[in-house]
């Protein structure tokens, strides 16, 4: 029969147990705050989705805007415009 670690390493086991006891309330306190944080993140997701939809609407003519901006840029250069 395999000997339990508690019996095999009694001093280490005691330290192990003490560390776990000290760790547990810290993790529990963190979990409360992390849960609250995740609730906020879920609210942000709703706003992020709304932002994405608005971005899609703003991009309806982006290809045409890009094309015409390129034309404007090219014509400006033909008239001697400086360029970055």
């Amino acid at each position: 029969m395999t000997m339990h670690n508690r019996d095999k390493y009694p001093e280490i086991w005691a330290s192990f147990e003490r560390a776990k006891e000290e760790l547990a309330p810290l993790k529990a306190a963190r979990k409360i705050k992390m849960t609250e944080m995740n609730d906020i993140a879920r609210e942000m997701d709703v706003l992020r989705t709304a932002k994405g939809k608005k971005h899609d609407e703003a991009c309806v003519d982006i290809e045409k805007i890009r094309e015409l901006s390129k034309v404007v840029s090219r014509l400006a250069k033909a008239m001697g415009a400086k360029s970055a």
């Binding site: 901006s69 404007v72 840029s73 415009a81």
Partner: protein, 137 residues
């Protein structure tokens, strides 16, 4: 196109979720003060005075990000042309990119034209992004 110079903070802020290079509005503004990599937010360096068709906080780049090719991301942007109208645009040398959407107006990077630019009434300055602006690998 002039060499792109990175703002150091852009890397950290990107990983902290401050920049969404697809749905945030990235603007370019003009300044006559040399940026440095340790600058962080719009206003330092100070932009030139608005007027004669230079609008405060510059122009929208129309940035859109996509995965292209697979495993990398590229930002495509729209060329910007400033044309002085009704008078000269204040002298500038540098073009600075920043995130207009996030609250802090975090800086992204800048270009150095190499010499001061004076645009008299009717003269233009363009920023040509080419096929794509930024690539993240």
């Amino acid at each position: 196109m002039a060499t792109y110079n990175k703002i150091n903070d852009f890397v950290e802020q990107s990983w902290l979720g401050l920049h969404d290079m697809n749905t945030d509005q990235v603007n370019l503004y003009l300044t006559n003060v040399a940026p440095v990599a340790t600058n962080t937010v719009f206003g330092t360096p100070a932009e030139i005075a608005a007027g004669n068709d230079y609008v405060a906080k510059g122009e929208d780049t129309g940035n859109v990000m996509s995965e292209n090719p697979a495993g990398t991301a590229e930002v495509v942007a729209t060329d910007i042309t400033w044309t002085a109208s009704g008078g000269a645009i204040a002298q500038f040398r540098y073009v600075v990119a920043f995130n207009e959407t996030n609250g802090s107006d975090a800086l992204i990077g800048w270009y150095d034209h190499g010499s001061a630019v004076d645009l008299a009434d009717g003269e233009s300055f363009t920023v040509d992004f080419g096929a794509n602006w930024l690539t993240f690998v």
